[in-house]
Amino acid sequence: MTAHVSVEKLRVEAGPQGQERTIVHDVSFSLERGEVLALIGESGSGKTTIALSLLGYARPGCRISGGAVHVGEDNMAAMNAAQLAGVRGRKVAYVAQSAAAAFNPSRRIMEQVIESALMHGVMSRSQAESKAIELFKQLSLPSPQTIGRRYPHEVSGGQLQRLMAAMALICEPELIIFDEPTTALDVTTQVDVLKAFKDVVKAYNTTAVYVSHDLAVVAQIADQILVLQNGRMMENNPTPTILNHAEHAYTRQLLSAVQDSDSYKDNEPGEVVIDIANIDAGYGKISRDGKPEIPILSDISMRVRRGQTVGIIGESGSGKSTFARVIAGLLPAANGSMLLNNKELTPAIVDRSKAECQQIQMVFQNADTALNPAHKVGDILGRPLTFFHGLKGAARKQRVAELLELVKLPTDLADRKCGALSGGQKQRINLARALAAEPSVILCDEVTSALDTVVAAAILELLGELQAKLNIAIVFISHDISTVKSLCDEIMVLYKGKTVQYTSGKQFASGPYEPYTELLLNSVPTLDPTWLDSRQSRA
């Protein structure tokens, strides 16, 4: 049997003519009909670029400059625009990373799902619509008859991701490209979406290429795994071989980042820095009983000690970021009490003294947006020094250099603009800015979610070292359970603005768990390839 999809010595270049850089180096692989290949690697590894080249597409600024991409009879790398338009969506289909962005916000879902079928003229409108409804049922979407009449913003993220799979399947393509289709979803949603994808791919005997950075997700769905780093193939082997006998050092590094460690932290408790009791917060008018019109958080209590890390886990919409904003005073609590070093803390930041503000510092999720790219690193770190501590001139310069050393960056970075730094470096600057105020507590809101696993691990390590050195308290907010588990002394699980569970890290490692915590823990994929199927039988 000849291969259904075969890629030979694919080369992709980026940049203006005359100064191209190669971003994909001579990648080759082949797939039989019905097989699933996973492309795995970190950002910049070229995995999405390779996946898009299977559609004969290169993002603006990139070019397929060599090699062949055969899908069935066609060489996608050698077709012109009109030929490609005839193949895309009909023979090869694409499922994008963020369905929320990939659906046109101003057109109804059904229009968009059946668009490629109508464009290619493979079926009539009524045929296409009934086919779509059938697919909605197969993908276990709620109210399949009517969901197509809604606009994209009227359905949830997980539903939209499945609707996009329906959009890809409408012409029954031979090959589907899944580009990180579950990365933007919560863990509990991810499980259902993965299940739906796996079943549908099997039912139509479709060949699939699945792009991901998460080995555990890929282990559930792929027959073959291709590991990429900096646009080069590291290893290409069947899934069991990769999981059990990885050849390449980089693959083993990726594997070890996923493996669940049973370690937990249990620091000596210091004195209480922040004591929060029975906080209610939300938006809108505050009623007579002290509840806001649109409540986000209700009855949350938390106590953070010096040298201790309290982790807050929750899915999107659980109110975990709102909680950080309440502590920082950006969203004043409607009622409840907050004590900072045993002194009453006013809810709104405008009423707080400079010293109180200095004690509580926040590290935002996305260093790209939290740091002004046009400002120099020295100015970004220097401003809180002048503002809180009145440092100027040489003393300020000296302190900036100390801070850079503290976060393990070279001191000559002070003269560089923020826009010129890498993601990991920016996050370190972001952290150093919070530390510049010499706070007693820092609030870290998803500080590693925008980073690659290896970079994220380095930031977490740094956070641990800084805490030991400076004896500060950390509130660590994340959706990633394994990170929180290994980093935090105490763990709080939030669901819809309420505390589900609040225990020590030690107890969290062993259980028992509340039902929702249990569900969260069980939704995190493991490297065991039978994990998804075993969950299927339980459901």
Binding site: A81, A85, G89, A96, A102, N104, R107, E154
Partner: protein, 318 residues
């Protein structure tokens, strides 16, 4: 839907308040102009007694606040007062000229809007290409050239050198299509070029912004040709910003009309207003100013509302 209505009613309310403030500013600034109508009408040789008598007759001696209240009351009841220069009702003077000005503005909009749309969309579709670069150079240089310069250059070339078109824009009573064309060619061209340059730039930016969205890439990967991806997917989402840009540009047209009417001696409201300034004909001047301000506010209001309505989250109340 409720949210939209609330927002729109709020905008309309704000516009009315703005108009009220504008009326006060217009009135008091008009009264700061040196000289007065009585003096202007009677000429240099008038006796002080005659001037005083005329001032008394026109009520020019009343305190300013009283005169403002009278004028505003008159405006609200539809009476814009009487022209000091020729004693005819202001509303009559304006209405005879308004249709002329609207025709000029209408022709300009009719030509400039589609021209700018096509130019902007094509430039966005082929951004970075030669077409795009050429359009960029053209629009940037046209935005930078003031109308009076452009109009003067047109007169020099087409009226003086080539002698193809009349330098004054006059429409005879029994005018045919050709007469209209001759009269309108230069004023409309002047306004069009400046206006469409602005609109094309804003349209290009709005479409380009949408083209960089993942859903356009998705449409291409579903097998849609570029033209379809632009027209069916990107354009509907760019309509809000584009209508906004068009309305704002058309409000700019109001200023351009003043200059163009004067240069080509076109009998519209704007040249009437300029005459009112020379004659110190305050009621006429104030009425014209209010008319222009109202037109401007209506266009800005349309721009605002289109931006609100174009947001599908507000539109469907989701």
């Amino acid at each position: 839907m409720k949210v939209i209505f609330q927002l729109i009613i709020k905008r309309i309310g704000l516009s009315i308040i703005t108009l009220l403030i504008v009326s006060a500013v217009v009135f008091f600034i008009a009264n700061l102009l040196p000289g007065d109508a009585a003096q202007e009408m009677l000429g240099q040789s008038a006796t002080p007694e005659a001037v005083a008598e005329l001032r008394e007759a026109y009520g020019l001696n009343d305190p300013p606040m009283l005169r403002y209240a009278k004028w505003l009351g008159g405006l609200l009841s539809g009476d814009a007062g009487t022209s000091l220069a020729n004693a005819r009702p202001v509303s009559e003077l304006i209405s005879s000229r308004l249709s002329q000005s609207l025709m000029l503005a209408g022709f300009t909009a009719l030509l400039a809007v589609p021209f700018a749309m096509v130019l902007g969309i094509v430039a966005a579709m082929y951004s970075g290409s030669r077409i795009d670069k050429a359009m960029n150079i053209f629009t940037l240089s046209m935005v930078a050239v003031p109308e009076f310069l452009l109009a003067t250059i047109f007169v020099l070339i087409f009226a003086v050198e080539l002698n193809w078109l009349p330098s004054l824009s006059y429409i005879p009573a029994d005018a045919g299509v050709y007469d209209y064309f001759r009269a309108f060619a230069m004023p409309v061209a002047t306004l069009c070029i400046v206006l469409s340059a602005q609109m094309a730039r804003m349209t290009r930016a709005a479409v380009l912004e949408q083209l960089s969205q993942p859903y356009v890439e998705m449409a291409l990967l579903k097998g849609s040709p570029l033209s379809r991806a632009v027209l069916r997917h990107a354009l509907p989402n760019a309509v809000g910003p584009i209508v906004n840009a068009v309305a704002l540009s058309l409000s700019y047209l109001l200023g351009g009309v003043v200059i163009v009417e004067v240069i080509f001696n076109y009998p519209g409201v704007a040249s009437l207003m300029v005459d009112a300034v020379t004659n110190r004909d305050m009621p006429l001047l104030q009425a014209c100013a209010m008319l222009f301000c109202t037109g401007y506010l209506i266009l800005v209001l349309i721009a605002d509302i289109s931006a609100i309505v174009a947001n599908p989250k507000l539109r469907t109340g989701g």
